[in-house]
Symmetry: C2
Subunit: 212 residues, 2 copies
DNA sequence: TAGATTGTTAATCGATTAACAATC
DNA sequence: TAGATTGTTAATCGATTAACAATC
């Protein structure tokens, strides 16, 4: 289906396309032209047509794109309909924030289990998700095919936990620890980092620059 | 000091440079060549020299870079020594995770106040940070020059809170809500988004692609 | 000094934008 | 049909890589 390797610049824009198309869809918009979408997203029409054409011709000359259809196509491209599963490691504040508030379901994931060491949490559940002791990780993953491990453990535990997830064969790690995981040790695992510090420092640069 | 507009590709790499240099510094490394740093970061030596030369000549021929000095220079460039201040809006799980666990201080920020509507929190403090009622926001910001507002409120409140922060004259908004803020309404405010959903969907794409 | 490594200029590569024939 | 808008090819722009003289 796909012609060549899709550049990561394009891939990073896909979730934004999805988000905007979903908003339009929910708002009842039936069709949209690349020009109109570009304007509302702050991109160029050319870029949108170029990006989408990596995956196929979803539009129609003289008409534009059907919002519902395009939204669905982008969802498919992003793998949102593949019944991905996730487990989360670490049920501290951040872990709990994700467990209780992040809409895994509407992003195509089912959050199946949480792991922690806190005896007051283990055996219970959070937001409908059972909490197991971290020692049960291998046993659990052995029996439950899991796509992604979400890492919200304290920094010192991060690398070890990543290794254990990799050894159990997860496809990806969603890394919230401010630690660089050893990708070269786990070539087969895709790692996506959410580095809060990098983000804040970028903002710090931007606001500092203004005042030079 | 700076010649021209620095490209955002370069800016996004600066925090990673800082992180690596800080690790090296803490580990006691005194000097490093662009080649060695490149290898450990998965970049090219050319790129590192090119990036750094945007800001000045920090190295020495035949020697490389002094780690402590370069770490300091990058920190300065990032604005880490400008005594930035921040307030956080929303002390739910995510807000609390940031208040209690995120090292604002070592990223050059002082987290001065939190705002929420929960009567059981207002008037108290979290992680040493006083919690005020959101109604007190304007009063507080009027009296306390604040660089950044951290947005960890529920999605429906996000845009309104962003407007209020902008009106009070913050320089930047660190946005954790899955909402696109109206940048065009607040040209003077720099917005840095941490879109969890975009990040997870990127990972979803990467692991799905493997299995085509 | 000789070897190493920078900062910078030139060459290459890739991504974005523009243009336009195809066509709904 | 005429107007609008796509998908795609070509042109431009920008970012990365390579090369090398300068020099510590």
């Amino acid at each position: 289906m796909r012609k060549e390797k899709i550049s990561s610049a394009v891939i990073r824009r896909l979730p934004r396309y999805y988000r905007h198309l979903d908003d339009l869809y929910r708002g009842g918009t039936v069709r949209i032209s690349s020009g109109a979408l570009a304007k509302s997203m702050g991109l160029t029409a050319s870029q949108i047509r170029q990006d989408l054409s990596c995956f196929g011709g979803f539009g129609q000359q003289g008409y534009g794109y059907n919002v519902e259809r395009l939204r669905g196509e982008v969802a498919d491209i992003l793998g949102m309909n593949r019944a991905h599963t996730a487990v989360i490691l670490g049920a501290g504040n951040l872990g709990r924030a994700l467990i209780e508030n992040f809409p895994f379901q509407s992003n195509g994931f089912r959050l199946a289990a949480a792991f922690d060491v806190d005896p007051s949490l283990v055996g219970g559940s959070l937001g409908g998700v059972p909490v197991y002791h971290i020692d049960e990780l291998e046993g659990y993953l052995g029996g439950h095919k899991t796509s992604v491990g979400v890492l919200t453990v304290p920094a010192p535990a991060a690398v070890d936990m990543a290794r254990r997830l990799a050894k159990c064969g997860v496809d990806g790690i969603w890394n919230f620890t401010n630690v660089e995981l050893p990708q070269q040790e786990m070539e087969q695992v895709r790692i996506e980092d959410v580095h809060f510090a990098d983000s804040l420092l970028t903002l710090s640069y931007m606001i500092s620059e203004e005042q030079v």
